[in-house]
């Protein structure tokens, strides 16, 4: 089995799993006042400090959530609502055209249900939002913008955005800037304070922690209306009993991923380069999508001309090689990737793509396994590709 889908989810780190199991054995609600509760609270607050220290944030800026989707929704909708309440003229929301659906659909919801003006920030051929693009949008309507959201790194093609530059422009215009850093943490240096962002999303299961726990780093002075109402456990901006074991495992994973990041990134990028070279050699007309330089170390993304991505995926799956078409499913059907389309690809190229992503336990044998079966799979998928041409 060659698992080449770490951007979807990556195995838990043994230390995180151990920490989870140990904490899950203990009883105690962090909001309870007795000793068991205080013990749970201590574990949560220690975890908060560890996450904050790893990412250049203050502990009070760490809001634990159920993961990336909740954090993105809280940042986009919550900041939009709070900013519009404070200034009714702020009815616009801007995000890049290559965001994850957790941001994209939250923004679209604001457009459809809150009358928000939705501003899409175009990307270049490698999937980058240039500072000029954001500057132009700010020049036109900075006073109307409630919030801006641009991902730190793209989940499909791995392009890393110039976040510090974008955040600086937003700050100069006085508009809160959120970044979805789900794919970036543990892969590239992420420092919340240094980035200048107002809010940052991260999640556990992309860094070796459990699924179902994540955080929103939210600047102290950033107004945000809650999505979830209840006990107000997290700074009154997020309610729900804290998942002590999940939070401890999450913090363990974040801390470890950040600490080992430089060494990890060098190793995995080298392995990725072997993969890319091997795929290019095996399939000479393959198109390598995304940026050559500012790119996540574990990401390789290709279009295979004449193939359907889902056919290739199935053939590789049958040979024990697990990858992704990279695009979201709509009603069970893989849609042509909005990321590839935004980067200027046509429908056929978008449909012909596959994403291979490496992670902390990837080894050369994984790449070898892919390269051993890829040529045969591509040949078959090409024969089947004729199926799409109108008869």
């Amino acid at each position: 089995m060659a698992y080449l889908d770490h951007a979807a989810t990556t195995p838990m780190l043994p230390a995180a799993l151990d920490a989870y199991v140990a904490a899950a054995r203990e009883v105690g609600n962090p909001s309870s006042l007795h000793a068991a509760g205080r013990n749970a609270r201590r574990l949560v607050e220690e975890s908060r400090e560890r996450v904050a220290a790893a990412l250049g944030a203050r502990p009070s800026e760490v809001v634990f959530t159920s993961g990336g989707t909740e954090s993105d929704n809280l940042a986009v909708k919550g900041v939009f609502w709070a900013r519009r309440t404070a200034g009714p003229e702020r009815t616009a929301v801007a995000s890049s055209s290559v965001e994850h659906h957790a941001v994209l659909d939250a923004v679209d919801w604001l457009g459809a249900h809150e009358g928000a003006e939705v501003v899409s920030l175009d990307v270049d051929g490698s999937g980058r939002v240039t500072p000029e693009t954001l500057a132009a949008v700010l020049g036109e309507r900075a006073d109307r913008l409630a919030v801006i959201s641009v991902q730190w790194a793209n989940n499909e093609v791995g392009t890393v955005q110039p976040i510090a530059e974008l955040a600086r422009l937003a700050a100069a215009a006085g508009v809160p800037f959120h970044t979805d850093a789900v794919q970036a943490v543990g892969q590239v240096p992420v420092d919340f304070a240094a980035s200048g962002a107002s809010a940052l999303t991260l999640t556990g299961h992309k860094v070796g922690g459990p699924v179902g726990v994540g955080a929103l780093l939210l600047g102290r002075d950033v107004p945000c209306t809650p999505l979830l109402h209840g006990g107000g456990q997290e700074r009154d901006v997020r309610s729900g009993t804290l998942d002590t074991a999940g939070v401890v495992a999450f913090a363990t994973a974040v801390e470890s991923a950040v600490k080992t990041r430089a060494e990890y990134a060098a190793r995995v990028a080298a392995l990725r380069d072997v993969l890319v070279a091997g795929v290019r050699e095996a399939v000479p007309d393959v198109i390598y999508n995304g940026a050559e330089g500012d790119r996540l170390p574990g990401n390789a993304h290709f279009s295979f001309p004449g193939c359907e991505g889902d056919a290739l995926l199935m053939l590789l799956d049958a040979q024990g090689v697990y990858c992704s078409t990279g695009s979201a499913c709509s009603a069970g059907v893989a849609q042509p990737s909005h990321v590839l389309l935004a980067m200027g690809a046509d429908d056929a190229r978008a449909r012909s793509s596959l994403r291979f992503t490496l992670g902390h336990d990837s080894v050369e044998a994984d790449v070898d396994a892919l390269l051993a079966v890829l040529p045969g799979a591509v040949e078959r998928a090409r024969r089947a590709g004729a199926w799409k041409t109108p008869r």
């Binding site: 889902d310 056919a311 199935m314 053939l315 799956d317 049958a318 709509s330 009603a331 069970g332 059907v333 893989a334 078959r380 998928a381 024969r383 089947a384 004729a386 199926w387 799409k388 109108p390």
Partner: protein, 356 residues
């Protein structure tokens, strides 16, 4: 795997026969928000989830294949076009011919598979002959008769020797949750079951006359001849009652003049059926065979001849409600299950001794 009980059990039986089986669910809607969320048919999201769960339980890989474009071009557009031309299409038959055993089969073969397995109730044995299911009430050989020899050579129907009841019992004993799921009967791409409304939204309103087949008298008007099918009695909305007070039926539809012709029940009777586009009819003359003229329709004894691609069936007893566009399927009666001899597309039904 539609998400129904038949394809789930067919997959399980194929696997048990030693084949390397992969489950495929077809996504057939261009816009995933339209009929995939409908309440009926075989292509809702819930059906897709049911199919996936069945594949899990059987222990086979499962994928959704997007066949929306092919389905729209080959089945939905054809359905609308056939009605516009005054014929009555059978979309299930068309889907077997163009989607399941053409688009899916071609893709599967290219990807390295050997055959397409479906949960149709029909027998296809080692002799290569297509026969009716042992469960005559559920027999689907009619909608499979459109398949060519090459298509049948790549098809497997593991359920033909089982009754539907046994299929359901088998599903239950295997722990398949779809065991008691109701059968789908409706046209899957018309979620609300309103065929006339579906056609009207695509073909627009086209008012024309309803005329009496015997006298030529105009009896009323209609909003689109496509809303009618030969043999139809309801929905004519005629203001002038018949002289004898008996109900009137649609006898024919003439698109050129946009006319719907009606008459008494006996005028629906035909004793000769002509058909085009014969498939698998490898004979020039067959006497004392049987023909079936619509899905779940009666079976009629007939002599069938073929010349220059034109099929003529002389019926030994008259048939009613013979609609152009439907299939005529020829069967050779056989104690081991009636054998499909071939099919063709009905062009017209006529009566040698027309009423005065």
């Amino acid at each position: 795997m539609s998400g129904g009980v038949d394809s789930a059990v067919a997959a399980a039986r194929a696997r048990e026969a030693g084949h390397d089986v992969t489950g495929v669910h077809l996504a057939l809607s261009r816009n995933p928000q339209t009929f995939r969320t409908g309440a009926r048919g075989c292509c809702t999201l819930e059906d897709s989830r049911d199919a996936r769960r069945a594949a899990d339980v059987i222990g086979i890989p499962f994928y959704v294949w997007d066949m929306a474009e092919e389905f729209h071009a080959s089945v939905v557009d054809d359905f609308v076009g056939e009605y516009a031309a005054g014929r009555t299409p059978n979309p299930c038959l068309r889907c077997n011919e163009k989607i399941k055993f053409e688009a899916v089969l071609d893709r599967a073969i290219a990807l390295g598979f050997d055959a397409v397995v479906t949960g149709h109730h029909a027998r296809l044995g080692a002799d290569g002959l297509l026969r009716r299911s042992v469960d005559l009430a559920k027999d689907q050989s009619y909608v499979l008769a459109v398949l060519t020899r090459e298509q049948l050579d790549r098809a497997m129907f593991p359920l033909g020797d089982w009754t539907k009841e046994r299929v359901r019992a088998e599903a239950a004993s295997r722990g398949l949750a779809v065991a008691d799921k109701p059968d789908s009967h409706d046209i899957c791409f018309i979620a609300d079951g309103d065929t006339r409304g579906f056609l009207e939204s695509r073909l627009g309103s086209a008012p024309g006359d309803i005329v009496d087949g015997r006298t030529g008298e105009t009896l009323g008007t209609h909003n689109g001849a496509y809303g009618f099918t030969v043999g139809q009695r309801k929905g004519l909305d005629l203001r002038v009652p018949a002289a004898d007070g008996r109900p009137r039926y649609v006898l024919s539809i003439t698109p050129v003049t946009n006319t719907v012709t009606v008459g008494p029940r006996e005028d629906l009777e035909v004793d000769t059926v002509t058909a085009t586009r014969p498939i698998q009819m490898n004979f020039s003359e067959m006497s004392d065979i049987q023909v079936q003229l619509r899905a779940h329709g009666d079976v009629v004894d007939a002599d069938v001849s073929i010349s220059d691609g034109l099929v003529t069936a002389r019926l030994k007893s008259p048939a009613r409600g013979v609609a152009a566009g439907q299939a005529i399927v020829a069967y050779q009666p056989d104690p081991d299950g009636d054998i499909v001899l071939g099919s063709a597309t009905i062009a017209a039904g006529t009566r040698a001794s027309a009423h005065a």
